[in-house]
C-alpha cells in the first residue's frame, strides 16, 4: 500500500489532519445542525427556550428565574449574578451572564449576607424574630437563575401577597398549590414552586 512508503512521521501526520477536519465537520457541524432541525420539529417550544408569551410579548422563560421585588409578587431566591461584562456590579437574575457567589462556608460575607437577608425576609413578611427562615430564601442559587422556591418559602410569603393584593389567603394558597411541581415521577429531585408561573397566575387571577 502507498501508506507504507511514506515516512513514518508523515504517515501519522496526514491522518491526524484529515481526521481532525472530518470530525469537525461531522461532530461540530452536521451533528448539532441535525439535532437543531429535528428538535425544532419535535419540540419547538422547548428548543427555543420555553419562552412564555402573554399577548404576543415574551415575558420570560418558564425555566429561568426573574427578579421580583414588589410585595404583591412572590419573591425568588437571592441571586448573585452581576451586570454583563462585570464581576462586581450586582444585577440579580441577569440571564445573559449566569453566576454564583462562590462564597465558602466560613466566609464572613456569606454569613453576614444571610443574616441581612433573614432580617429583611422577617420584616417583609411580618415574622417574629425567632422564626427560622427557609434556607433557600436567604441563600443564592448556583446559577443565579433558579426559577423555583421551596414550598416552605412560598407558604411564608403567601399572607404578604394576599394582603398586598386584597385576595383571600386561601385563594393565594390555592394558586401556590397549583403551581407546585412534585417530585418528577413521584421520586426524583424535590417538590418546588415556580415563581414566575405563580406570579403570572396571580396577575391573571386578578384580571379575571
Amino acid at each position: 500500500m502507498t501508506v507504507q512508503s511514506r515516512s513514518p512521521f508523515v504517515s501519522v501526520l496526514i491522518p491526524a489532519i484529515t481526521t481532525a477536519i472530518w470530525f469537525i465537520i461531522l461532530c461540530g457541524i452536521i451533528y448539532p445542525l441535525l439535532t437543531t432541525v429535528v428538535a425544532n420539529v419535535l419540540f419547538p417550544y422547548q428548543a427555543q427556550g420555553s419562552l412564555i408569551t402573554v399577548n404576543g410579548k415574551v415575558i420570560g422563560s418558564e425555566l429561568i428565574g426573574q427578579n421580583f421585588t414588589a410585595p404583591k409578587y412572590f419573591h425568588p431566591r437571592p441571586s448573585a449574578t452581576t451586570k454583563t461584562g462585570t464581576t462586581d456590579k450586582p444585577q440579580p437574575y441577569n440571564a445573559a451572564q449566569s453566576g454564583a457567589s462562590n462564597y465558602g462556608p466560613t466566609n464572613k460575607k456569606l454569613i453576614d449576607g444571610v443574616k441581612d437577608a433573614v432580617a429583611a425576609y422577617r420584616k417583609e413578611n411580618g415574622l417574629a424574630d425567632n422564626v427560622l427562615v427557609p434556607v433557600d430564601a436567604v441563600t443564592a442559587s448556583g446559577s443565579g437563575l433558579d426559577p423555583h422556591i421551596s414550598i416552605a418559602n412560598a407558604n411564608l410569603q403567601s399572607p404578604r401577597v394576599a394582603k398586598a393584593r386584597n385576595l383571600p389567603l386561601t385563594e393565594v394558597q390555592k394558586l401556590v398549590k397549583q403551581n407546585t411541581q412534585g417530585r418528577q415521577f413521584g421520586l426524583l429531585g424535590e417538590p418546588r414552586v415556580n415563581v414566575l408561573k405563580l406570579n403570572l397566575a396571580l396577575d391573571q387571577a386578578k384580571s379575571k
Binding site: 491526524a16 481526521t19 481532525a20 461532530c27 461540530g28 462564597y103 464572613k108 444571610v114 433558579d146 424535590e190
Partner: protein
Amino acid sequence: MFLNILQLVIILLIIGFGFVVPIGKYLVKIFTDEKDTILERYTYRFLGINSQEQMTWQRYSQAIVLSNLVFVLLFYATQRLQDFLPLNPDKISPAPTPELAFNTAVSFVTNTDWQNYGGETTLSYFNQMVMITCLMFTSSATGLGAGVAVIRGLSQNGINNLGNFWVDLTRAIYRLFLPVCFILSLVYVWQGIPQTLEPAAIASTLEGVTQTIARGPVASLETIKNIGTNGGGFFSINSAHPFENPTPLTNTLEILSMLLIVPALTYTFGTMVKARRQGWVFFGVFAALFIGFLVTVFPAEQIGNPLLTQVGSDQTLSSLQSGGNFEGKEVRFGIAQTSLFVTATTAATTGSVDAMHDSLTPMGGFAALSEMLLNVVFGGKGVGLITLIMYAAVTVFLVGLMVGRTPEFLSKKIEAKEVKLVSLALLAHPFTILIGIGLALVWPKALDSLNNPDAHGFSELLYAFTSVTANNGSAFAGLNGNTPFYNTVLGLGILLGRFLAPVLPMLAVAGSLATKPRVPKTPGTMSTNTVFFGVLLLASILIVGGLTFFPALALGPISEHFELASGKTF
C-alpha cells in the same frame, strides 16, 4: 428522607446492574471487531487511514500526540478569529486573548474542560459547536482509545501491538458516542434544554424590566459533555444553569451519562485480558471508593452550615423543603441529587457541576478534592482504568518486596523498567499539583484572584491545580483563572496531567508488558483476582495517594472543617 435515599440507590443500581455488563460487552465488540462497517471503510479510504496497521506503543502515542496537536492549533485559531467567523448572532466580542485561547484549546483537547471563561459571554455559537462540541467527541474517544490500547497491551503475548488509534477513534464516535448523543439530545430538548441558532431572547418581565436570556445549541453539547466525561458547560455556571439542566430527570440522566462507560470499562478489561474476575476486583475497588465518598458528601451537605442556623435560617429537611447547605445549590435538585452529582463528576473526572463546589461544606469539598487527587474513583474515559492499572502495578511491586517475590500482574513480570515508568506517572501528578500551588503562592498578585480568604482560599488554589492535573475541569469557581498567569500555568498543568501522568508512561508500560511472554502460574504466584488483592489495592491507593496529599488537604478543607466547627468566620 426515604425518597431521597431511594432515588440515589436506584441510580446506583442502574449503573451497577444495568450498565456494566451490557456496555462492557458492547465496548469489547467495538474494539475487537474484525470487520469494519461500510461507513467506516469509506471513512478510512477517504481520510487516508490504513486501518490494517497494527501500532506499537510508540506509534500509538505518536498518533495521539499529533492528533491532539492539530486540534490545539486549529482551535486556537478559531477562537482568536472568532470576530471573523459566522454564527455569532449575539455579536460576542472581543475574541479570547492568546493565553485564554491556549488554555481553552488544551483544556478541551485533553478532555479536561477547565474553563477560565464564561461560555455565554465569551464564545460564539460557531465555537460552541465547531470547537467545543467537536472536541468533546474526539477527546473522549481519544481517552477511551488510550485505555483500550493499554488493555490490549496487557492481553498480548510477546507482541508490541496496541491496536490502531485511528480505528479506535472512529469506531468510538461512530458506534457509541454519536448515536447515543443524538437520541439523548432529543430527550434533553423535550425536558427543556434549548437547541437553537437564534440569538438571545429578549423578555419584558412582569415587573417591566428587560431580561436578556442567553440560549443556543445547548442540548447537542450537553449530551456529549457528560457521556464523554468532558464537563465544559455551554453557560458559565454549567449544569446548575436551568438551560443545561432543567429538571431532576435531566440531572439524573447527566449523572447516569457520566457513569455510563467508565465503570463498564472494568468489564471490558476483564473480558479482553481473559481475566473476568480481575475486572470485577477492579470494579469493586472503584465502587468501594465511590460509595465511601458519597457517604462523606451527602450527610455533610444535608446537615448544612451551623453558622447559617445561628443567623436564623432553617436548614432542616422536611416535606416542604430540602434544607441543608443551600448556598450555590438549586431547589429542583435538592441535597440528595446534588451530592450524587458532586461525587460522580469528580469521580468520573467529568467536571460538570450542578452546584457550586466553592460553596460546599468543608467535608463536601474534601471528598470532591480527594476523588480528583486519587484520580482512581472510576476516573475519566480510559484514563481512570489506566491509573488503576498503574496502582495495581505499584501494589504487586510493594507486596512483592514485602514477601521477596518477583512481582507479576496478569502473568507478566513487573520489572525495573515498568516500575520506573509507573513511578514517573505516579509522581508527575503530585508534582504538577504541588509545584503549581507553590508558584501561585509566591507569584506577584496571583493571590488577588482568590474569592475567599484563609483556609478556604488555599482550597481554591488546591482545587484548581488538582482539577486541571486530574483533567477534571470542575472548579472552586470563585478563583478568577482568566489572568495570564493562571491561563498559562493551569494550561501547562493540564498538559502534564494528561500526558505525563498517566497516558504516555502507561502506554509505554503496556507496550513493554505486551512484548513479554506470559509466565506460567506457579504455587508461588500471588493471585491478583481475589478480594484480598482488592483490599491490598485499596490500601495502596489510600496510603500512597493519601500520604502524598495529606499535608495539602490539612491546610485546606481539614483546617476549614475545624474552623467551621469552632464557629470562626473570615
